[in-house]
């Protein structure tokens, strides 16, 4: 059981990064459907840099920059040029897919260098990993996973306990009010969209560097879309996102697990569960209709001060 849970966390970490990334973007008022594209770009560039340098920090940095770059294009189009967010996000995904296929075509089958792989081997956290049951599950993971925990905590503190985080939430809920209060709405949107993209890029990098350290074309495999759904599932809350990501990570490997236990269920039927669960959550959230659990009110509305 513990092995399964630990594996669920590994499976859920890329989802975690992407979900938190998109969560930040949406909380500040923009819906970026390009998550899949940004994850792909992050996976691709992260792999390229990793292959070339063997240095984990550079590889992650490259991945984050790639994701941020894609997000920057989205930000320019939607914040400054007021383009439709849904269409722009989809375009980013198409672009990201093409870009990744283009850059990665020569890399198919390449394996990342050994020293890079070992930097992502499992590290036990002294003391914490001795806690019965939870210890080995949560605290015998690679550093990338620990990075994920830290980011969730940081983002949660940021959003709910800092002034800047409060401003960001105001921007996402009511840009007009934020603007009238003296907040630089455009700057906040840009910053959070780009930051969100960087995190998505990191999520992709986990897949290409840790999960299966051989390059394959469809390395992200639709996880970006799940992340978009997970943001809603988690009610735009980073802590909930953590558990949601691990839950869905677990659901994704459930099929194999069940088969190994002798239960003969088609992996593909099990694969459907995360998506159906998301639909259920969306329906339930709408029915509950609590103000706090709703999307940021100004989500996907571009803000234009001079509009008459």
């Amino acid at each position: 059981m513990e092995v399964f849970l630990a594996a669920a966390i590994v499976a859920g970490t890329p989802l975690l990064f992407a979900t938190v990334g998109e969560l930040i973007t949406e909380k500040s008022g923009s819906i970026n459907l390009g998550v899949e594209g940004m994850m792909l770009m992050g996976a691709c560039i992260g792999f390229v840099v990793g292959l070339a340098t063997g240095n984990p920090v550079l590889a992650l940095g490259g991945a984050a920059l790639a994701g941020a770059g894609g997000a920057l294009i989205f930000a320019i189009l939607t914040v400054t040029l007021r383009a439709n967010q849904v269409v722009t996000g989809l375009t980013l995904t198409i672009f990201g897919t093409g870009f990744t296929r283009f850059v990665g075509q020569d890399m198919v089958g390449a394996v990342i260098p050994g020293e890079l792989r070992t930097s992502f081997s499992k590290v036990e956290l002294p003391g914490l990993s001795d806690i019965p049951f939870f210890g080995p599950v949560f605290f015998r993971q690679d550093v990338f996973v620990y990075l994920g925990y830290i980011i969730v905590i940081l983002v949660a503190i940021y959003m709910f306990r800092t002034r800047v985080g409060l401003n960001m939430r105001a921007v996402g809920e009511n840009s007009g009010a934020a603007d009238a209060s003296g907040i630089n709405v455009a700057l906040y949107k840009y910053a959070h969209i780009v930051l969100g993209g960087a995190l998505c890029g990191l999520g992709g990098a986990y897949l290409s560097l840790v999960t299966v350290p051989i390059w394959q074309v469809d390395v992200v495999g639709g996880r970006g879309w799940i992340a978009v759904a997970l943001v809603i599932f988690a009610s735009w809350n980073p802590i909930k996102a953590l558990f949601a990501a691990f839950l869905f990570g677990g659901l994704g490997i459930l099929g194999l697990r069940l088969q190994s236990m002798g239960v003969h269920v088609s992996q593909y039927l099990v694969d459907m569960i995360p998506y159906m669960a998301t639909i259920l959550i969306v329906i339930i959230s709408t029915m509950r209709n609590r103000k706090e659990g709703m999307p940021p009110s100004d989500l996907s509305n571009p803000y234009f001060r001079e509009e008459r």
């Binding site: 283009f102 039927l269 998506y275 639909i279 969306v282």
Partner: protein
């Protein structure tokens, strides 16, 4: 940013808008070309080969048309939904479900005479696609759930379900272990007319039908009003729930029809990849065509040229197909951005005024 003045335009003459659009496309081609240069490819050659590869021979033109057909029909389906501001991202899933229904009919009633069988397949596919779109529509109409995520998830459920069928209950025992669904019999395959499968006739008819539907029928009018102003529709006494559901049945139905056509004429079977991304591309084309049925035809043909050109590049020149995706993405970004310049007028001001103000104060 203070010296750039942005004002909303009241109206823009037709030709100026086309100029801006054209400029955007040109800029995007140049930009994509630069990227190609970085990777050691020759942009001009690639562009000419794309055109050559899509229109250069009778065979290639047919291929372009074959690629345009599903785009057109799906775009029309999406157009109906988008007109109502119902963001139907679920075209992929609706295509797949339509194909599945058509496959079921084809495989189980394969002995029925051709015209009847094809008709049954068409009806089945449209029903399946319609129902698949109806589900998210129902929840939106009833309680206002977010349709973007709902339809998105429905895509994956549909694709996974067909994959399950492909690897499981519908697996063809005669395929020697490969996870494939059986081939359709001849009766289930669309006939060819002038060398291309009959889908092109269906597509053209639908373009005309949808144009008339949106612009000249009461239902089309209602859909437009609901999309433009929900409250006004309500005040006019329109039954909004039924309008949403009708529109989505049509939307899903058209996408389902695409699934049938692809399954019947192209693949001659059902696979999980039958939608091949058309569901997403069609969103872009529908939007670029500004939700106008006639424009959809033009835009889809252009896009099909890009896709076919890309395939040709791969086969004939060993240039990766993904170059076409890059060009596509680039064009899209620039056109999306150009919309801004059509809606707003940008002028430089204050650079000179600032100086004068300072001089005035100093004086």
């Amino acid at each position: 940013m203070n010296f750039i003045k942005i004002t909303k335009r009241d109206d823009l003459p037709r030709n100026k808008a086309i100029l801006i659009r054209g400029g955007a496309i040109l800029l995007s081609l140049i930009c994509a070309g630069l990227v190609m240069l970085v990777f050691g490819l020759e942009p001009v050659k690639i562009y000419t080969e794309i055109i050559n590869g899509s229109l250069g021979s009778e065979m290639r033109i047919k291929q372009t048309i074959i690629k345009a057909i599903p785009l057109v029909i799906t775009s029309l389906g999406i157009l109906v939904a988008f007109k109502m501001k119902f963001w139907n991202i679920g075209a992929e899933g609706q295509i797949v479900m339509g194909a599945m229904a058509a496959a079921y009919v084809a495989l189980h009633y394969g002995e029925t005479p051709k015209p009847v069988l094809l008709l049954l397949m068409i009806i089945a596919s449209m029903l399946a696609g319609g129902i698949w779109a109806f589900i998210p529509a129902f929840f939106k109409a009833k309680m206002g759930t977010n349709e973007t995520i709902f339809t998105l998830m429905m895509n994956y459920i549909a694709i996974k379900f067909v994959t399950y069928l492909q690897y499981g209950p519908w697996k063809d025992p005669g395929a020697q272990g490969f996870p494939k669904i059986a081939q359709f019999g001849d009766n289930a395959v669309l006939p060819t007319v002038f060398g291309v499968h009959a889908g092109w006739i269906i597509a053209l008819i639908l373009v005309a039908l949808m144009y008339i539907f949106i612009n000249h029928t009461k239902k089309g009018y209602e859909i437009t009003v609901v999309g433009e102003s929900l409250e006004t529709a309500r005040y006019a006494g329109m039954n909004i729930k039924s309008i949403i559901i009708t529109a989505m049945l049509i939307s899903g139905g058209l996408c389902g029809l695409t699934g049938m056509i692809q399954a019947s004429a192209i693949e001659r079977t059902l696979t999980s990849g039958i939608s091949a991304g058309y569901g997403f591309t069609a969103i872009i084309t529908a939007w670029l065509a500004r939700l106008n049925a006639i424009a959809v035809l033009v835009v889809c043909i252009l896009f099909a040229m890009l896709i076919q050109g890309g395939a040709y590049l791969q086969i004939a020149m060993n240039v990766p197909e993904s170059v076409a995706s890059l060009v596509q993405g680039s064009v899209l970004f620039f056109v999306l951005g150009s919309d801004f310049f059509i809606q707003y007028k940008v002028s430089l001001q204050g650079l000179f005024r600032k100086k004068n103000a300072e001089e005035g104060r100093a004086a």
